[in-house]
Amino acid sequence: MPKHSINVTVNGEQHTTEVEPRLLLVHFLREALNLTGTHIGCDTSNCGACTVLLNGKSVKSCTVFAVQANGKQIKTIEGMANGAMHPLQEGFHQEHGLQCGYCTPGMIMRAHELLEKNPSPSEEEIRWGISGNLCRCTGYVNIVKAIQYAANKMKGGA
């Protein structure tokens, strides 16, 4: 099968490369770009561990082909910290929003879009908002707190 040339911007950096059409975006990120912060959990679009932003929208990168990202902007967990930790990263740290950490990059990328659309979500809106992300360690109490922490911080609060 012919390869396709794609041009994608990942965390602000442009990459032009050839990919096989069947290459999934998550494999492209992890194996071609060595951005292994994006995790593969279930590989069936259930768990959300592979969540990244595609043109600002959270998607499950195990269920998108890399070739579909041609011409688009991708943001992964590696693109979140800018000198200092992003408020979401800080929130997960401060509020103990993780135990093993496997789900965390996906949780953070999903929460990122959630807070972009709704900067002051209620607890219910947060829980509904992360309903496509599974955590098998902590339950969700501290994850919700972490997102609330980030929401407050991003609004300029403490």
Partner: protein
Amino acid sequence: MIPAAFEYLAPKTLPEALSYLQQHGEEAKILSGGHSLIPMLKLRLASPAYLIDINGIPGMEYIEESDGYLKIGALTRESALEDSALIRSNYPIIYDTAKMIADPQVRNLATVGGNLAHGDPANDHPATMLALGAQVVATGPNGKRTIPIDTFFVSLFETALDKSEILTELQIPIPQKGSGGVYLKLERKVGDFATAGVAAQVTVDQNGNCRSAGIGLTNAGAVPIRAKKAEDILAGKKVDAALIQQAAQLAEDAAEPSADLRGSVEYKKAMIKELTKRALTLAFDRAKGGL
């Protein structure tokens, strides 16, 4: 899980996509949101030689009212339905449906056209479109044709779309004054297919009597099911709890679910009955609120 190799085609216009379809027909699959197709490719339940990605075709994502219809472009994402002020205020049944599909990330990509064209009776829009009396616009080499939703679902994963056609638009008659609709879905967890799902759309007259009702059932048989007898018993009647109970029983009778991990046949049928009762009760409330 790695899909079998395929050739990727990314047309920029609808005519270009149609010509690829004509060229490759049986060997090609249309890629829209991809959230039914890509999992099937990964499991190798499907291995088409060509994928025709229609996401690059402009002008296929819209939600608008014109010519007496709500028109929804086939590539409209579920998240766009959820976020649409028009859908939230005037079509709560569609809002109910969209927000229960999969999860937020999936809804960012999944399309309403794909949800129907996949022909899966476990998908949620089919029941809602049955309740709303929608029609499907298919575009092929000879132009457009309109397919009534009642003839669209042929058998499991098979629709009335020809191999040379692409589903391009959905048309829903704009409900009359005094209409209300609801979609209720019982699921084990977020992202699961329905254990049972019921869509109900009703219209009432000035006195609150039922003028017409549409009832569609999700995951209750090999194809999405219209509960015709339940609809008929409501039409023209004064609505009370006993009548709704009767209609719910007729909906249960119309359901032919199969047993699986989500439950036995008896359980699923009982859930269809209960959900129909609840959906009709709420739909009539919404309809009366709209008078």
